[in-house]
């Protein structure tokens, strides 16, 4: 009895002293992006004083980054099902141009909205079909369809910027509420819907399984192809919506103006994996990351540094966040493994005690 007690005690103590650690690191991991955001604001406020850290600047950042938020969300949905969609920039521009053209040609705003969204979804559907039934790699397939969508947009709209859009249309996206345009609230609404679907529904979990392990998902009877096509169609739809939003906020649109959107979108989606649900593509993380990147860009511009440093800063931020995330995740995994082993040891020791007692 004495001897077996000695066996059971030390692992118990170990377990207790280490249990606090994963919670700390999990919280740190979940919140790392918030910390980065606060640090950024503090730094820029320090450099630039009142201008950066002001209500009006906050309103500007929230408003101007809204389209980036939607396009990042689009990229995130595809990444959840394990596909890389490089066509979102092209689709966004094409849909923006077509939407602007329809509105300036007097198509009723509601009808134009539906048609433009359908166009975006159609591009996504084609991507999904190419990737599943066509068995193409999504990187290559969407690289191609992205260019094709730009071509189609130019064929319909032409190379010039379409302006003179109706007030009804503009009011949907650019009406200021509390100094922030409606576009921002629409982004938040979309993000909430995405968070609920991805995090709280069975559909969301199945999408995650498809993205993580296609073979296992298929063996379990999950309709892998259907979910992949569905996910990529939603990505196209969201990319189209981002384009519509851009036209609505700017009051004008050009098919080729969205080239610069692709990389920030991916940066936000990847950076987002370090927050809220660490280690996974998640809509909440993406939203937060969009504004971290946005604050950094605006802050750097305002503090008067050369443009080239913005590019370097954005890249470095992505690398640092991912590095931080990897370290935290590895540590978390190691701690959990140790705890599993300790649990097994404890059960074994308890079994030994029982056996000794029975004797």
């Amino acid at each position: 009895m004495q001897a077996s007690q000695a066996v059971t005690e030390p692992p118990g103590d170990h377990g207790r002293s280490r249990r606090a650690l994963p919670q700390v690191s999990a919280a740190a991991s979940r919140g790392s992006l918030f910390i980065v955001l606060v640090a950024l604001i503090a730094i820029f406020a320090g450099i630039d004083g009142s201008t950066f850290f002001s209500l009006s600047n906050l309103q500007v950042v929230l408003t101007t980054q809204a389209t980036y938020g939607v396009i990042s969300l689009a990229v995130t949905v595809a990444l959840v099902v394990g596909e890389v969609d490089l066509s979102v920039g092209g689709v966004m521009g094409a849909v923006a141009g077509v939407m602007a053209l329809m509105v300036s040609d007097g198509v009723p705003t509601g009808l134009a909205l539906v048609l433009a969204l359908l166009l975006g979804a159609a591009f996504g559907l084609v991507n999904g079909l190419l990737v599943t039934y066509g068995r193409l790699s999504s990187i290559i397939a969407t690289l191609a369809t992205g260019t094709i969508s730009t071509g189609i947009g130019l064929a319909i709209v032409g190379p010039n910027t379409v302006s003179g859009l109706s007030q009804t249309f503009l009011s949907i996206f650019a009406t200021p509420w509390g100094g922030i345009q409606t576009a921002f609230y629409l982004l938040v609404g979309l993000s909430v819907v995405a968070i609920v679907i991805l995090q709280r529904t069975l559909l969301g979990r199945r999408l995650f399984f498809v993205g993580q392990n296609r073979d296992a998902a298929e063996l379990l009877g999950i309709k892998v192809r259907r979910l992949t096509v569905g996910g990529m169609t939603v990505t196209g739809l969201l990319a189209g919506f981002a384009g519509i939003m851009l036209a609505g906020q700017n009051g004008a649109a050009n098919v080729t103006q969205t080239n610069g959107y692709l990389l920030p979108a991916f940066a936000a989606a990847f950076l987002g994996t370090s927050a809220i649900v660490p280690g996974r593509f998640n809509a909440g993380g993406t939203l937060l990351a969009t504004y971290v990147l946005g604050a950094a860009t605006v802050g750097l511009n305002m503090s008067g540094v050369a443009t080239w440093s913005t590019y370097i800063f954005n890249g470095a931020l992505l690398i640092i966040s991912l590095g931080m995330f990897t370290v935290l995740r590895l540590r978390k995994e190691r701690t959990a493994k140790k705890q599993s082993m300790l649990a097994a040891e404890r059960t074994a020791a308890a079994g030994a005690t029982e056996a000794a007692a029975n004797e």
Binding site: R205, A216, E218, A336, K337
Partner: protein, 485 residues
């Protein structure tokens, strides 16, 4: 060939992995112009010997000496390891040192090589467009590509014939015979004893990591060879026809199922019955679990019925009460980025949601109850699945399958990488469901002892076909060997 030249001699080869021996003092030699077969049951150490001979592993003890200077050893692996998109010429020349660069010169060299080997293969054809026996010849030619000016060559043929069928196997055998006549020493590794007896001049039998016997093939027959391999005398080959628990309902019926290797396979499983399914590697028995569930595009023809209803896809299989525990746990059973809870819930398709929203508390309760009941050791249901040991991962998979109250469970190598204690617990849960709930199980496993311990009857597959069944209670285990090889 009055006095045989010894091309290769291996003496006292030993190899151990951790604390266990795979090989213990094995000696082996190959003569010019002979086919020397190596046979042994699963786990006998045969594969280790082949890997040492072909240079994949260094031996821990012992040495290999070449009988002549500049001896070339070429190996043809089971999967052939060819580049399907490349042409025959490119595949063969890929291993020749790069002194030749012009296509014309390469063509000339390859033509001469194929001529020497007595092979006719179109050089410009893409390898993947060739029939399988021609692909095997390409692999042979590549293995021997550097032997043209060498004084001697040894060709190791590792389980290649298991992918060849009928005519293709015959043609391949002819080529091996021709190579032997040219003085090449051939090491033939095969599970197919008929082939070994038909082709080989000598046979080395490996059991428990040692050479059990080296025999002239002419002095052996099937029966004697199996006796040597399995170390027991064989009962009269009277394998009983399965009667089954005739009154209970059939929960799984498979008719005419065909895949890449498996051909016209039939199987009936009754409620409360565990049917073992066994074969040697390459026999096609291990395709069965995936053909039955309908995963991938493997199913060529045939019908699978669960409680009378035909199912064609994993979705339908699952919907009608079928569950599968695949062999490749990490790749096909678990989502490695997920938690214990998520991997457990992977089995519950849509069962616990209201208006599409997951019921988090209910899920937690289910998972916690299952973790406790099945004795899954983990740091909690939120722990990453990768933090669990293999045995505990497998217990969780068993839990998620059985908790769905399936009528049919197909398991493939369920105890792979599971330690002895966990293994007993794991299988106890399965057997309880069989006895109490009338679960029907297909137990697919390459280890006869394991299948025998866990099944009511055992179905044997050889060369893609069902060759017989053995009732566990009334038949001697050894008699299954007669069917297996």
């Amino acid at each position: 060939m009055s006095e045989p030249t010894v091309l290769l001699t291996a003496e006292g080869l030993s190899k151990w992995f951790g604390a266990t021996y795979a090989l213990r003092g094995v000696s082996f030699d190959v003569r010019a112009g002979e086919i020397h077969a190596i046979v042994g049951a699963n786990g006998s150490g045969k594969s280790t010997l082949v890997k040492i001979l072909s240079g994949a592993y260094p031996p821990d003890r012992g040495q290999i000496t070449a009988g002549t200077d500049g001896l070339i050893i070429g190996t043809v692996h089971q999967n052939l390891s060819l580049f399907g998109e490349a042409t025959v010429r490119e595949n063969i020349c890929g291993v020749i040192p790069a002194r030749m660069l012009s296509a014309a010169r390469e063509t000339a060299v390859v033509k001469r090589l194929l001529g020497q080997l007595g092979l006719a293969i179109p050089l410009a054809a893409k390898v993947q467009e060739l029939p399988i026996d021609q692909q095997a010849f390409v692999a042979v030619a590549r293995a021997l590509a550097r032997t043209q000016d060498a004084p001697g060559a040894v060709l190791i043929v590792d389980e290649v014939t298991s992918v060849l069928r009928g005519q293709a196997a015959t043609r391949f055998a002819e080529v091996l015979g021709r190579l032997r006549d040219r003085g090449i020493g051939i090491v033939l590794v095969s599970h197919d004893l008929d082939e070994v007896l038909g082709l080989a001049d000598r046979v080395t039998i490996i059991t428990d990591g040692s050479v059990r016997a080296v025999e002239e093939a002419a002095s052996l027959d099937r029966r004697r060879l199996i006796e040597l391999m399995t170390g027991g005398s064989v009962e009269a080959a009277g394998v009983a026809e399965a009667e089954g628990a005739a009154t209970r309902p059939v929960v799984l019926s498979v008719t005419g199922l065909s895949g890449d290797l498996l051909h016209e396979f039939n199987l009936e499983v009754r409620s409360g019955e565990v049917v073992g399914l066994i074969g040697v590697p390459g026999s096609g028995y291990d395709e069965a679990p995936y053909l039955i569930t309908g995963a991938g595009a493997g199913r060529r023809s045939g019908e699978v019925r669960l409680s009378g209803r035909a199912v064609h896809s994993p979705g339908a299989f699952a919907a009608h009460g079928g569950r599968l525990i695949p062999a490749d746990r990490g790749r096909t059973a678990l989502v490695s980025a997920g938690t214990v809870l998520e991997n457990f819930m992977l089995g519950h398709q849509g069962g616990h949601a209201r208006w599409g929203l997951r019921q988090a508390r209910q899920e937690r309760q289910l998972a916690e109850a299952a973790v406790a009941r099945y004795g899954v050791k983990c740091a909690g249901i939120a722990a990453p699945i990768t933090s669990l040991s293999g045995g505990n991962q497998q217990k969780l998979i068993m839990a998620r399958c059985l908790e769905a109250s399936p009528r049919v469970l197909v398991v493939h190598e369920p105890t792979q990488g599971v330690d002895v204690r966990a293994r007993a617990e794991l299988l106890a849960h399965m057997h309880r469901a069989v006895a109490e709930r009338g679960l029907g199980v297909v137990y697919v496993c390459g280890d006869l002892d394991e299948v025998w311990d866990n099944a009511h009857r055992v179905v044997v597959v050889r060369r893609g076909r069902k060759v017989g069944e053995a009732e566990v209670g009334t038949t001697a285990k050894e008699s299954v060997h007669q069917l297996l090889y």
